[in-house]
């Protein structure tokens, strides 16, 4: 009776809109190629979706792109050739990890700039503070303050007076 139940179920299942992303019929025979396809799919955006890779999305376009990626791999393309092909066709928008370019330089360098810049500021503050605490403990090395130190000293004293 199982087949009967299955038919009933099939009849009930009219709009099958939701499906898991990679469909069994898309999978390549060669496991190594399939693995590469999966890696690539995770880096490619499903352009009609909201922040989903084609590996996650069940939109028809994502399926088309997944099949396209696999076709290119079977045709012997390298990973970067596949990406180049897709960028040529769909623009940079298709890449979830933007390439380094002058327009994306700020994006990629932001973490480094922030880390190094922040570290530098902290280093300067620490050195300045270190200098002040050293004067607390030991005799100052020089006898005369530089103009910069004078200005800094004035800045330090002012808030106290207000």
């Amino acid at each position: 009776m199982r087949w009967l139940r299955l038919i009933v179920v099939l009849l009930l299942l009219v709009p099958a809109s939701h499906a898991v992303a990679v469909q069994p019929d898309e999978i390549l025979k060669d496991p190594a190629q399939e693995a590469r396809a999966r890696v690539l799919s995770k880096q490619l955006r499903c352009m009609v979706c909201q922040n989903q890779s084609i590996d996650d999305s069940d939109a028809p376009l994502a399926r088309d792109l997944r099949i396209l990626v696999r076709e290119r791999l079977q045709a012997g393309d390298s990973n970067s050739q596949v990406l180049d092909f897709l960028v040529q066709r769909y623009g940079e928008f298709v890449l979830l990890q933007p390439r380094l370019h002058w327009r994306t330089a700020l994006l990629w360098l932001a973490p480094l700039i922030l880390l190094i810049g922040g570290g530098l500021i902290l280093f300067l503050i620490a050195r300045r503070r270190g200098g002040t605490s050293a004067t607390d403990m030991a005799a100052p090395q020089g006898g005369v303050l530089t103009a910069d130190e004078e200005r800094r000293l004035a800045g330090l004293i002012k808030p106290e007076d207000r």
């Binding site: 139940r5 994306t104 700020l106 990629w108």
Partner: protein
């Protein structure tokens, strides 16, 4: 009648809010205790009236009053009661009402439990809190009124988006909002301090429990949301670097930084200006998050609002509050006196490093989230910034931070002894290193990051344990003494240990799931079996079940491990006729900390069912770790010195151990 009461109560709350925003502030300027005291009853009244308003909307939802547009658009009479209630905040208007409700709740809590605050500080805090409330109530009344009527009333509602009909939605947004909006209190404290032009260690002590409370709920909310996405979205992902997730994650990162810098301020009277700035930035990011989500500028998985008038309104509020706060900061911050000095290698130094890395990590997420928008606005060019970018940039930064975590609590205040600390961490480091090398040997020439991350996770976990062992002097003194020391440790020290431990546990789960998971996709006919990671899944057949407002197609799988049946998995496809949508219900089975995850694809005309099976090693540790972090936060919250409303200790006997 009820919706009108709700609407009217909201207008009253708005009016009370204006009084609360002006009178105490004026009183604080004039140093008039009567005017300042007005803050307390108005804050409570504001909360009560917004509460009435929220209750009125809830009543409309529970009674399926479809003459209210909002209820008609987001509810259905056949929906289970829990989703009728959660439907209140499952839409734009209702969620904004929840937003102001929580805002007013925090105001009322400060009013009621803030007995130990100086009168002027309390007045200023509540006034600032009220400005935020007034602005957002106005936003609701003008652009997003949930009480609008519909004539004639339809017989049936349009139902809630099926994806949102889930216990996860009932809990996730309120938790997240308590965290998100709770940061408003830290913000109000910061602005109040700037208005007064005075800030000291006591300020940090008062503001810390509130930040901690918000942080706890934010952690829970993000964690819940992640688990919800994991089991509902059907492909087993738990974090997508979606702009909406980032919107909640950025305030979390800054709130974490704020908690740490407030410690320095409280203990050493240093980093004052920085702490104020963090408090402003944390809530500003909450506001930006609200803007991103509510204005619809981002179209993302979570987006459920698109209306430019709202966007412009929130943008104006954003400019007003963030711009105003930063301007006030620039004007007043130089007046604040700088505090204690410390050597770079010290507890303070470690906490500064923590702040540097957390802020950099947050800014990385910020830039990554907004860069595509900015680029498109300026050059018209469209690019995508997705998960691979964030993993490549945020990942290393956070690993660096985690590497430093075990050192922090072991360093002494003012001037630390790094070689000494390194020596004490030797055992933890050695075990971590062995784990790393072992993983590398087993994996062979796999990804280098996996063993490294496992090593770091072990280091963080063992580091937290080392900290505990050091404080209780286990194995150095008799066990009884150690036990007494453990009992006598300040709760905040326990809090640190648990929070750091949880961080390590979460990382371990992340590495396990991402690096060692297995996946199998197949077409199956009843009776067929597929295997993955030593488990066999036999497809027994399909059945159909009728739910209250949906129809379920349930597939039954028998799971075997080494021939023995270990359980039954019943994933399904759920069809909601009212919206003619279908949703995949994955089936999950826990195996220790690992999970088996099964979700369904399409039925082919040939009668085969597409099936996706995953083995997710250690995946539960991701959320377990966050729970441990929350336990840490809660322990820290119960610390005597920080307890909300606790009077200053009268005994004057200082704690034996330095506390976090």
């Amino acid at each position: 009648m009820t919706p009108e009461i709700g609407h009217y109560a909201l207008v009253l709350a708005f009016a009370i809010g204006i009084i609360q925003g002006c009178v105490p502030l004026y009183g604080a300027q004039r140093n008039d205790p009567v005017l300042m005291a007005a803050a307390v009853p108005t804050a409570v009244a504001q909360f009560v009236f917004i509460g009435i308003s929220f209750t009125a909307l809830t009543v409309a939802y529970v009674g399926s009053d479809f003459s209210v547009v909002n209820v008609f658009e987001n509810s259905h009479s056949l929906k289970p009661l829990i989703y009728k209630i959660s439907g209140v905040w499952g839409n734009h208007e209702g969620s904004m009402l929840l937003w102001v409700l929580i805002l007013a709740l925090f105001g009322a809590l400060v009013a009621v439990f803030g007995g130990n605050l100086p009168l002027s500080l309390k007045a200023n805090v509540l006034a600032v809190q009220s400005w935020i409330a007034v602005a957002f109530i106005l936003f609701i009344l003008v652009t997003s009124n949930p009480f609008l009527r519909l004539v004639p009333a339809p017989a049936e509602g349009r139902d809630l988006n099926p994806l949102l009909q889930d216990p996860g939605l009932a809990i996730h947004p309120p938790l997240l909002y308590v965290g998100y909006v709770g940061l408003s209190i830290s913000f109000s404290f910061a602005i109040a301090a700037l208005i007064e032009g005075r800030i000291d260690a006591a300020w940090a002590r008062w503001v810390r429990p509130w930040t901690l409370l918000a942080w706890i709920f934010l952690t829970l909310g993000i964690s819940m949301g992640s688990y919800w996405a994991y089991y509902t979205l059907g492909w087993g992902g738990w974090w997508f670097w979606d702009p909406v997730e980032n919107a909640s994650f950025m305030p979390w990162l800054i709130a974490t930084a704020l908690l740490h810098s407030a410690v320095v301020m409280e203990k050493r009277n240093a980093l004052k200006i920085w702490t104020i700035l963090l408090a402003i930035v944390a809530f500003s990011l909450s506001l930006i998050g609200t803007f991103l989500v509510r204005s619809g500028v981002l179209t993302s998985v979570h987006a459920f609002a698109t209306d430019p008038t709202r966007g412009v309104f929130i943008l104006a509020l954003l400019v007003l509050f963030i711009g105003g706060a930063l301007a006030l900061f620039a004007w007043r911050a130089p007046l604040l006196k700088q505090g204690g000095l410390f050597a770079p290698v010290s507890r303070e130094g470690a906490l500064v490093l923590n702040n540097l890395l957390l802020v950099t990590a947050c800014m990385t997420v910020f830039v990554g989230t907004l860069y595509p928008l900015a680029l498109e606005a300026i050059t018209g060019e469209k690019i995508s910034v997705g998960a691979p970018f964030f993993n490549a940039t945020f990942g290393p930064l956070f690993l660096l931070l985690l590497l430093a975590v075990p050192f922090g609590p072991l360093l002494a205040w003012k001037r630390g002894d790094l070689p000494g600390v390194a020596q004490r961490l030797m055992a933890a480091a050695a075990v971590a290193l062995v784990t790393m090398v072992g993983t590398f040997a087993i994996l062979g020439a796999g990804p280098v990051l996996a063993p490294l991350a496992i090593g770091i996770a072990m280091f963080v976990i063992l580091g937290a344990i080392t900290d505990f062992a050091e404080r209780t002097a286990v194995a150095k003194v008799p066990l009884g003494t150690s036990f007494r020391r453990a009992v006598g440790l300040p709760r905040s020290a326990w809090g640190t240990m648990f929070a750091h431990l949880g961080l390590g546990i979460t990382l371990l789960g992340i590495v396990g799931e991402t690096q060692f998971g297995a996946e199998q996709i197949a077409e199956m006919k009843p009776g067929q079996t597929i295997s993955i990671s030593g488990y066999d899944f036999q497809f027994d057949g399909l059945t159909t079940q009728q739910g209250p407002n949906y129809r379920d197609q349930v597939a039954r799988f028998t799971v075997r491990e080494g021939g023995d049946v270990v359980g039954i998995l019943e994933p399904s496809k759920r069809t909601f006729p009212s919206r003619s949508t279908t949703r995949t219900e994955a089936a999950l089975m826990g195996r220790g900390f690992s999970q088996l995850y099964l979700s369904l694809g399409d039925l082919s005309p040939a009668g085969t069912l597409a099936v996706r099976v995953y083995h997710k090693p250690l995946v539960l540790l991701i959320w377990l770790g966050t729970i441990v972090m929350v336990i840490g936060g809660t322990l820290s919250l119960t610390d005597r010195r920080l307890r909300v409303g606790a009077p200053k200790p009268a005994r004057g006997k200082p704690a034996m151990q330095p506390a976090e």
